[in-house]
Structure formats: structure tokens, C-alpha cells
């Protein structure tokens, strides 16, 4: 019994152990930032590697906590993403005064996400969600000298409060009508009754806020722009990914009786999200804002896959997020390096970037191509699977408009590529020496972008897991 407990909670326990280790490190003698960062990155790698061994399926805490192969795989994706972000922020954290605190906050947030993904009960889900959000607001403030950073933190925490309020209201209504919070038991008590629908809408609005679906997306751009790049990438990749991972089983299982309603809601939100995200992205000059809006549009595509309501839908969502981790982090990685070492963040600053930094230019270009969905980059396969899974419902309007928007998105991704390669500039960003750790992460992303699409077993593996839901 006790061993089972340890095995099922293994990934959470490893993170907790790292948190404590870091606390001791903080209490001990002063170390240079470099050595702290090296230790942390090694620990995070160990954490990632540990996720691949000795896993078991099962439930504990009276079905409140559950785990299975798919959930383990999802947690591994998040571990990988976090490790990559950590490698990339090396250049920025090297001179920061509060390195250990930064990691403590993000690790706590990650721990919250793990509990959220593993939840089998709405209360557990809510606890995990809050645990993952609050430390992030503090982390958003970590560019201590910049007022924008504080503003971002403030906006994040206040808007989160709105969403949590609604979410909690929704959960309490669900409890009111069904008398239970367990995913397994809720469906028996739900029907397409107005009160039940209202409960669902409130609950779903809270989720939509976290994944920044339109019209709950407005906080995204300001927070992404103001927060340090590391936090922005964490928000846009890890945080969104975690909520989407848990959204799918909640919709497919707990809210199964309302499937007709949530399909319609997803239909409306997916379209609005794709279109609005794209329209805003077209005009952005700041690259972080640009990626914020483009990532809003990406979420719209993910919702198309979610709407499928089938194992193929689940698999396409997980696969896309894996691809998205590589593509988006490659883009953010380059941007964070340039932002930390050259202080430039605008598209116009990148004119002539290729002449001085060919390596970074190629990485950014390939990442953008993958985000835009150009074959043979992995992003193309990701979008293809999302659309084909969504198409199985036979709603051609949704698929057509989504596909049309792929072309629009193509335009703005290409705009950045054009600035990098084709526009001339008197004073391009000077040559940047990329430190070893960020370089490592960029290479990993590059390999990921190329291989996850072409190596078919990745998708096959995820698909085989998805029957387990």
C-alpha cells in the first residue's frame, strides 16, 4: 500500500524533493549563480528522466488522484518543457539576484499542474489549478527593475481571481445538482437542463481564461509582454498545455451528458479564438506580443481537435502540444536570448538578423514555419491531425474557416522571416554568442521539430495511449 502510494505519486514526490533541496541550497553558503544554475538544470534533467521509469497505473485518495500511462506521458511533456525553458533562461538568470526563488516558484506551479492533471475530482482539480496559478503571478514580477513586469503580475493575479471565482461558482453548482465532485459519478446526475448548462458555462469560462480563448484572452498580451521571457514561455507552453491536458478528460467524461452543448460552445470559441488571435497577431510589432496572439490562435486550433470527442481527438491534442512545446520554445528561446543579450524585441529590430546571426535565424525560421504549419515541420502534422480529428464530426464550416486561417497566419509568420532574411538594415543586431545551455535547448527543439513529425511512432504511441483516457 505504502509502496504503491510512492510509486503513483513518484513524479510529484521528485518535484517536492527538488523544492526542498533548493531550499537547503538557499540556506547554505553563498554560491555563484552559475553553479546554482548548473545544479538546478541537472536536477531538472534527473526529474525528466525519472518520469520514464517504473510507472504504474492506479488511483489513490479515494479516487481523487489517479494516474495512467497517458497522464505520465503528459507530465513528461511538461517536465521536458520546463527543463528546456530553464536551459534557455540561463543567459537571463545568470545575473539575477534571486535565482533560487525563481525556481521555487515555478516548480511549485508545476507541482500544482501535476496534481491538476491527475485529478479525479473537481476539488482536486481546483486546488491544483490555484496552486499552479498563484506562484506564476509572483514569477511574472521577476524583472524587478521593470515596471511593466509588476504590471503584468498585477494583471495576472487580478484576472485570475475573476476566473477562479467563476470556476468555483460553476463547481459549486455542479455539486449542487449532482451531489458529487468525482468525475466518474457526475455524469449520472447531469442532463441538458438550463441550470446544468449554466454550471458548465461558468466552469468552462474559468478554463477558457487559463487557455486564453477569446473572449477571455485579453490579459494574455499584456502579461506576456510585461513578464520575463522565461515566465512568458512557461505561461504559454506549460500552463496552457496542462489545462488542455485536463480539459479533455473532464469534457469527455465528467460532462459527457452535455456533449451537444460543449460541442457548440467549443465551435463558437474555437472560431472566435482563431479569427481574433490571427487578426491581432497581424499588427503586432513586439515579438513577444506577436507570439502571444499567435499562441491564442493556436489554442483555437487545439479546440477544434478537442471538439472531436474521440480518442483521435485526445491523441491529436496531446501530439499537438508536444509539437507546440518544441516549436514555441524554439521561438521563445531565440527571442529570450536576443532580448537578454541585445535588448531588442521588435520585429523591425530583426531586419538583417541573418547577416549577423545565421544560426539563430535558422532556428527562429524553422520554429515559425512549424508554428505556421508548413510541411515537413512537425507543426504541419500537428495541425493536420487536429483538423482531421475535428473533421470527423462533419462540421465543414469549422474546418474550412480554421484551414483558411492557416493561410492568414502564414502571412504574419512569413513577415518575420522576411525581416530576418530579406530586409536590409544598416545596424542589424550585433553578433550574439550563445551560451552552451541555451544552445543545447535550441538543438533539442530543432531535433524535436523535425523528428516528431517525421517519426511516425510518436503519434502512434500517443494514439495507443489515448484509448486509456
Amino acid at each position: 500500500m505504502v509502496t504503491e502510494f510512492f510509486i503513483l505519486l513518484k513524479q510529484e514526490l521528485v518535484i517536492t524533493a527538488i523544492v526542498f533541496l533548493l531550499l537547503f541550497l538557499k540556506l547554505g553558503k553563498d554560491r555563484s549563480n552559475e553553479s546554482v544554475l548548473t545544479i538546478v538544470n541537472v536536477l531538472l534533467f534527473v526529474n525528466l528522466a525519472a518520469g520514464f521509469f517504473g510507472n504504474q497505473e492506479g488511483t489513490i485518495f479515494n479516487d481523487m488522484f489517479r494516474t495512467n500511462s497517458l497522464i505520465v506521458f503528459e507530465k513528461n511533456i511538461l517536465n521536458l518543457a520546463f527543463w528546456l525553458i530553464s536551459l534557455q533562461s540561463y543567459a537571463w538568470l545568470r545575473t539575477h539576484k534571486h535565482v533560487i526563488e525563481f525556481y521555487l516558484l515555478l516548480l511549485t506551479s508545476l507541482l500544482g499542474m501535476f496534481f491538476m492533471i491527475s485529478s479525479g475530482n473537481l476539488l482536486m482539480f481546483y486546488l491544483g489549478l490555484e496552486m499552479s496559478t498563484i506562484p506564476l503571478a509572483a514569477a511574472a514580477n521577476f524583472d524587478l527593475a521593470k515596471r511593466q513586469s509588476s504590471e503584468a503580475a498585477m494583471k495576472l493575479i487580478i484576472s485570475s481571481a475573476f476566473s477562479s471565482g467563476l470556476l468555483l461558482f460553476g463547481i459549486s453548482l455542479v455539486y449542487g445538482v449532482s451531489g458529487t465532485l468525482l468525475f466518474n459519478e457526475i455524469p449520472a446526475h447531469l442532463s441538458a437542463d438550463p441550470l446544468h448548462i449554466l454550471a458548465f458555462i461558468l466552469f468552462f469560462s474559468g478554463i477558457a481564461f487559463k487557455i486564453s480563448a477569446v473572449p477571455f484572452h485579453l490579459w494574455t498580451a499584456d502579461v506576456y509582454e510585461g513578464a520575463p521571457v522565461a515566465v512568458t514561455s512557461f505561461l504559454s507552453v506549460v500552463s496552457k498545455g496542462a489545462v488542455l491536458f485536463v480539459l479533455v478528460p473532464i469534457l469527455y467524461r465528467a460532462f459527457q451528458p452535455l456533449a451537444g452543448t460543449w460541442y457548440n460552445i467549443l465551435f463558437v470559441l474555437a472560431l472566435a479564438t482563431i479569427i481574433i488571435g490571427n487578426l491581432f497577431a497581424i499588427r503586432q510589432n513586439n515579438l513577444k506580443r506577436f507570439l502571444a496572439f499567435s499562441s491564442i490562435a493556436q489554442v483555437g486550433f487545439i479546440l477544434v481537435g478537442v471538439s472531436a470527442g474521440s480518442p483521435a481527438g485526445m491523441a491529436s491534442v496531446v501530439f499537438f502540444i508536444l509539437v507546440y512545446v518544441f516549436s514555441n520554445l524554439a521561438a521563445f528561446g531565440v527571442i529570450s536570448l536576443v532580448s537578454a543579450l541585445a535588448g531588442k524585441e521588435n520585429v523591425t529590430d530583426y531586419k538583417g538578423f541573418y547577416t549577423t546571426n545565421p544560426f539563430l535565424s535558422w532556428i527562429l525560421t524553422i520554429a515559425l514555419f512549424s508554428l505556421a504549419g508548413v510541411p515537413p515541420a512537425a507543426g504541419f502534422f500537428g495541425k493536420f491531425f487536429l483538423l482531421i480529428a475535428g473533421a470527423a464530426r462533419g462540421n465543414y464550416w469549422l474546418i474550412s474557416i480554421a484551414a483558411l486561417n492557416m493561410v492568414v497566419s502564414f502571412y504574419y509568420y512569413l513577415r518575420v522571416v522576411k525581416a530576418i532574411f530579406m530586409d536590409s538594415n544598416e545596424q542589424p543586431i550585433s553578433r550574439i554568442t550563445v551560451p552552451v545551455l541555451p544552445k543545447l535547448s535550441l538543438y533539442i527543439c530543432l531535433v524535436g521539430i523535425i523528428l516528431t513529425g517525421l517519426a511516425s511512432f510518436v503519434y502512434d504511441y500517443i494514439y495507443s495511449l489515448s484509448y486509456g483516457l
Binding site: 475573476f162 458555462i201 497581424i282 508548413v374 510541411p375 473533421a391 493561410v407 502571412y411
Partner: protein, 643 residues
């Protein structure tokens, strides 16, 4: 069945060249890269010819029918138990024919570029791109799976983007490459949705299986796709029309042709490759690949026919008004591709009524030779004159005798003068159109005459017209490597028409007996000759050299002593009526309405984006308002309105 596994090397060699030159070219093999690229393509070409010999002459047939042979195949991705994505190489008449065409033309372009691109700083990069382009097209040709076609289709798009934008320091080249990429991608989207529709109803991505399922009226898949509909049109028509939109984008059919003239910004040999053998014929090839399915759906076939015929006519009219020699050739390509399209459109599957299919492929085959010849010839001219404009040319026949003769052969071939290659294929197309649709036949005939006119207008303006201006950097006609491909292609443009094409490539693999009908041929050939005559009267000599008119052809008019009036009449009809009343308005519509519509779409998108920017005010209280407003809206919508 004998072993065809060696054909894998045909696409792989250019790919290897691309990798090698792309990775090491600039540093290690800079000057050697052209030779390397050409050599590897030479091997590919030889292999293609061997494959063609083996397939057509030795073991391709079984009981008189050419078989479809899978040279190799492996399952790459299993999307669901029914739908898997394979990588395969399929050998059948059209793919073997295309292998020969693509490798041969590409080889000629490679060799020609040795001289033409000499001294360019990114010489190795250029050859790397050429390798990638050739590889993509070869992969596309061999695909036996719709998804594989799509992958290579996109690769063709990417590599053409790279090549059109090769002179990346020229803003016009950058704009052109972007335009080509975005317009064709827009069309590719239709293709992608079309694939999804066909795959969804056919439950497979494999082309042979798809054809089998969607053409037999008994199969469940066929019933499914014909009974399901969207906006009152059956899903079969939707799927095929969407696929055709993809093809029309790559093949520059109206109204998706707007990228083609701009794409002339790339190096001229690249235009030869794009126009003769790779990108623009990809659309025709796609329709031909799926032709059995198209042939059961009358509606989408009509779409192919009318779009093809209209594009052919439109492009021919526009070509008459252009003065940039590459643009004339670009519109002529569009016009000829239109020919191939409507030839497919008027065809049926199998037997005698499959004449259009055979004719279309035949024209694709001959066109590849004479069009690459014309483009390379134009390249040689531009190389000498350093200008694309006809006004800067004239009288070049003495300066560049080889190019002159080669170009003349190309013009005669495209004009359809016997015994040059274009004559044979064009006759078949006209015959096919005549038997199926008189309106299309009329359009085709008129277009044929126009073609002769504008091609000879081009020819006379370049090589005759006036005395050659003194060209300061007079480096003669170009190197041997530039003249050699011209000679080879000129020979081809004469002889390939005699290939007994109907024996090899037909819609159902059974040899088709064709016979030349002299009575039928008289009309189009006569019209062509008349048009050439007209062009010669108008353009052969400039006005300040009236005595030259007394030469060969002009004598006819002098003898009739009506020369002056005829001249005036022709001039009046063309300059005062055809140009301003027909040609220019069409060019204007093309430029302002068709192009304008695209620009308008872009402007509207930007405008809307500007308008809604106000939402993003930066104030949290506003965000909260939208947030709760969104919840309320969802609540009202889904509880009261849309239950």
C-alpha cells in the same frame, strides 16, 4: 515483373546534391558545384531513360495493357486502421513520362546555368536549390498516395519560393516570391481540404484504392460521397473541385494566375524549369493522376474544361500586349497549360473517347521541350542585351545565330507548324475538343492563331525589326554550355512529335490508334500560318526600313500592291480595335480587378484588425467587463437561443 527499385535513385540523387551543396557548397566545392549538380542529374536522366525503355518497350505491358507497378512502398504513418500514409514510388505511363521530362529539362537547365550563372556569388546555393526543386518534383511524380503528393507539392512550393527570390536583394524579386508562395498556398489549402474530403469518404489515401472505390457505382464509399452534400453540391464534386483549385493554383489557371508573370523575377533558367517541367505542370499532372475519379463526376470535369479554356484564351490575349519578353513567354505558358487542362476536361476514361487525356499528356510532353527551349533562348538574349524589354532588342540574328535558329524552332513548335513537335500534340487536342464541345473547339482554334501571332511578334521583335544596337559588353552568344542545351532542345522540339505517344500513354493503358486527318489539320495550320504572316508584316521590319519589306514574305503584299492598305488595316484592327478594346481592358481587369480583389482582401483584414485593436486597452477593469460579458453572452446564447 522485373525489378524497378533503381528508380529510387532518380529523385534521391538531386536530393543528395541539395544536401551536399547546401551544407558544404559555399565553403568547399564552390566552383565545382555546377559540375557536380549537372553530373548527378545526368545520372538521374540516364536512369529515367532506362526506366522508360524498360517500362514502355520491355515489360510494362500485360496483355497489351500498361500496368501500374509499385516499385517500392512502406507504411510511414498509420493514422487509423483504415487510413495509413505510405511512401511509395509508382510506375505507370504518366509517371515514367514525367520522370523523363523532368530530369531531361532539369539537366538542360543545369547545363545552361553553368554559363548563365557564372560569377554569381551564391553559385553553389543556386545549384542546391535547383537540386531541391528537381527532387520535389520527381517525388511528386512518383507518389502513389495523396498525402505524399501533398508533401512534395508543398516542397515544390517552398523550393520555387527560394528560387524566385534568389536575387533576394531586389525588392521586386522578394515581393514576387512572396506572392507566388502565398497565392499557391491559398490554393494548396483547397487541395488539402479536398484531400481530407476524398480521404474521409474513400477511407484511404492510397490513390489506386481511392480510384477503385470512388469510381465503382456499387461501392459503399461511392454511395456515401455522392449522396452526402454541402450547399447542394455532392461531396464528390466538392472534393474534386477543391483538389482542382490546388492544381489551378500551381498551374496558374485563372483567377489564380496572378503570381506567374511576377515570378519572372527569378533567374531565367529557373523560369524555364518552372514553366516547362516542374511547378506549373504539377496541376495538370494532379488532375491526370486522379482522372478516373474526375471522369465520373461531370460537374468538376466541366469546371476543369471551362477554367482551362478561359485561361488559355485570356492568357493569349494578354500575351499580345506585353513587351517584356519573359512575360510574353509566361502568358504563353499559362495559355498552353490551359490547353492541357481543357483537353483533360473534354476527355473521358478509356478507349477512343479518352483521346483528350492522351492529347493533354502529349502536349505536356512536347511543351516541356519547346518551352524550355524558348526560355533558355530568351535567357541567352537577356544575357547579351541585359534587358527584358523588346524595345532594347532587334536585329540579334547576326549576333547570335545559334540562339536565333533555336528560338525560331521553338516558335514554330509552339505555333503548331508541321512537322514541329507542337503540331502533333495540338492537333490531337483540337480533335478531342472538336468531337466533344464545339464552343471549346472554337476557343481553342482562335487561341492557336493568337499563339502563332504573339510568338512571332516576339521572334521578329528580338531577331529582326531593326539593326542590332551596339551592345557595350559584347561577350558574344555565351559559352558552349549555354549553346549546347539550346541545340539539343531544338532537335528535340523537332523530333519528339514523332514519338508514337498514343501507344504508350493513354487513360486506360491500352494503345490508341490515331491518324492524322489532313483535312482537319488544314484549318488550324492555315490559321497559324496566317497569323505568322500577320506578325511578320507588322514586326519583321521597323518602319524606317521599308525596302526590307520587299524580302521574302512582304513581297506577297507588294505584288498585290495592296500592301499599304493591308498594313493599315492590320494595324487598325490590332492597334485600334484589338489592343485598346479587347487586350487592354482584359489586361486592366486582370491587373485591377483580379489583383485588386486580392489586395482588397488584405486591406480589409488589416482594417478590421485596426478596428478591434481598441479592445486591447490595457485596463484590467475593461478586461473584466469583456470577461463577464463573455460569460453572460455564452449563457444567453446556449441556454435560451441555441439549445
Amino acid at each position: 515483373m522485373s525489378n524497378y527499385s533503381y528508380i529510387v535513385w532518380i529523385p534521391l540523387l538531386p536530393l543528395l546534391t541539395f544536401l551536399l551543396l547546401g551544407l558544404f557548397g559555399r565553403r568547399y566545392v564552390k566552383n565545382f558545384s555546377g559540375i557536380l549538380g549537372s553530373a548527378s542529374l545526368l545520372v538521374s536522366t540516364v536512369l529515367s531513360l532506362l526506366a522508360a525503355r524498360q517500362y514502355f518497350l520491355q515489360d510494362g505491358q500485360l496483355n497489351g495493357v500498361y500496368q501500374k507497378i509499385i516499385a517500392f512502398k512502406f507504411t510511414w504513418l498509420e493514422f487509423s486502421p483504415n487510413v495509413s500514409i505510405d511512401i511509395s514510388a509508382v510506375i505507370d505511363p504518366i509517371s515514367v513520362m514525367m520522370l523523363v521530362v523532368v530530369t531531361f529539362v532539369s539537366l538542360m537547365v543545369h547545363v545552361f546555368s553553368l554559363g548563365y550563372m557564372k560569377g554569381e556569388e551564391r553559385f553553389a546555393t543556386y545549384y542546391a536549390y535547383l537540386g531541391l526543386f528537381t527532387f520535389s518534383m520527381l517525388g511528386l511524380v512518383l507518389s502513389g498516395n495523396l498525402f505524399q503528393i501533398y508533401m512534395f507539392w508543398e516542397l515544390v512550393g517552398v523550393s520555387s519560393y527560394l528560387l524566385i527570390g534568389y536575387y533576394y536583394y531586389k525588392p521586386s524579386a522578394v515581393a514576387a516570391s512572396k506572392k507566388a508562395f502565398i497565392v499557391t498556398r491559398f490554393a494548396d489549402l483547397g487541395f488539402l481540404i479536398g484531400i481530407l474530403v476524398l480521404a474521409f469518404y474513400g477511407q484511404t489515401l492510397d490513390i489506386s484504392m481511392l480510384i477503385e472505390r470512388l469510381t465503382s457505382t456499387q461501392s459503399a464509399e461511392f454511395t456515401g460521397i455522392t449522396t452526402a452534400g454541402f450547399l447542394g453540391v455532392s461531396m464528390l464534386t466538392w472534393g474534386l473541385s477543391l483538389v482542382f483549385i490546388g492544381g489551378a493554383g500551381k498551374s496558374a489557371m485563372f483567377p489564380l494566375h496572378i503570381w506567374l508573370p511576377d515570378a519572372m523575377e527569378g533567374p531565367t533558367p529557373v523560369s524555364a524549369l518552372i514553366h516547362a517541367a516542374t511547378m506549373v505542370v504539377a496541376g495538370v499532372y494532379l488532375v491526370a493522376r486522379l482522372f478516373p475519379i474526375f471522369s465520373v463526376d461531370g460537374v468538376s470535369l466541366q469546371l476543369v474544361t471551362y477554367v482551362g479554356a478561359f485561361s488559355a484564351l485570356l492568357a493569349a490575349i494578354i500575351a499580345c500586349t506585353q513587351t517584356d519578353i519573359k512575360r510574353v513567354l509566361a502568358y504563353s505558358t499559362m495559355s498552353q497549360i490551359g490547353y492541357m487542362m481543357f483537353a483533360l476536361g473534354v476527355s473521358k476514361q478509356g478507349g477512343e473517347s479518352g483521346l483528350g487525356y492522351m492529347a493533354s499528356m502529349f502536349h505536356l510532353f512536347t511543351h516541356a521541350f519547346f518551352k524550355s527551349l524558348l526560355f533558355l533562348g530568351a535567357g541567352a538574349v537577356i544575357h547579351l542585351v541585359h534587358s527584358n524589354d523588346m524595345k532594347d532588342m532587334g536585329g540579334l540574328r547576326k549576333l547570335m545565330p545559334v540562339t536565333h535558329i533555336a528560338f525560331l524552332v521553338g516558335c514554330l513548335a509552339i505555333a503548331g507548324v508541321p512537322p514541329f513537335a507542337g503540331f502533333f500534340s495540338k492537333e490531337e487536342i483540337l480533335l478531342a475538343a472538336f468531337h466533344s464541345n464545339k464552343l471549346i473547339f472554337g476557343v481553342a482554334l482562335f487561341t492557336a492563331a493568337l499563339t502563332s501571332f504573339y510568338m512571332f511578334r516576339l521572334y521578329f521583335s528580338i531577331f529582326w525589326n531593326k539593326e542590332a544596337a551596339h551592345h557595350p559588353h559584347d561577350h558574344g552568344e555565351g559559352t558552349f554550355s549555354m549553346k549546347f542545351p539550346l541545340v539539343i532542345l531544338a532537335i528535340c522540339a523537332v523530333v519528339v512529335g514523332f514519338v508514337p505517344f498514343a501507344h504508350f500513354v493513354t487513360s486506360d493503358g491500352v494503345a490508341l490508334e490515331t491518324h492524322m486527318d489532313l483535312g482537319f489539320s488544314a484549318v488550324p495550320v492555315g490559321l497559324s500560318l496566317l497569323a505568322i504572316l500577320l506578325a511578320s508584316v507588322m514586326y519583321r521590319v521597323a518602319n524606317d526600313k521599308p525596302d526590307k519589306v520587299a524580302g521574302t514574305m512582304g513581297g506577297l503584299y507588294k505584288a498585290a500592291s495592296r500592301k499599304f492598305y493591308m498594313d493599315e488595316l492590320y494595324l487598325f484592327i490590332t492597334k485600334k480595335i484589338i489592343f485598346p478594346l479587347v487586350g487592354q481592358p482584359i489586361a486592366w481587369i486582370d491587373k485591377n480587378i483580379v489583383d485588386g480583389l486580392m489586395n482588397w482582401l488584405a486591406a480589409v483584414t488589416a482594417k478590421i484588425s485596426e478596428l478591434i485593436k481598441g479592445l486591447q486597452s490595457g485596463k484590467v477593469q475593461n478586461y473584466a467587463l469583456y470577461f463577464f460579458g463573455g460569460v453572460a453572452a455564452l449563457g444567453v446564447l446556449f441556454i435560451y437561443i441555441w439549445k
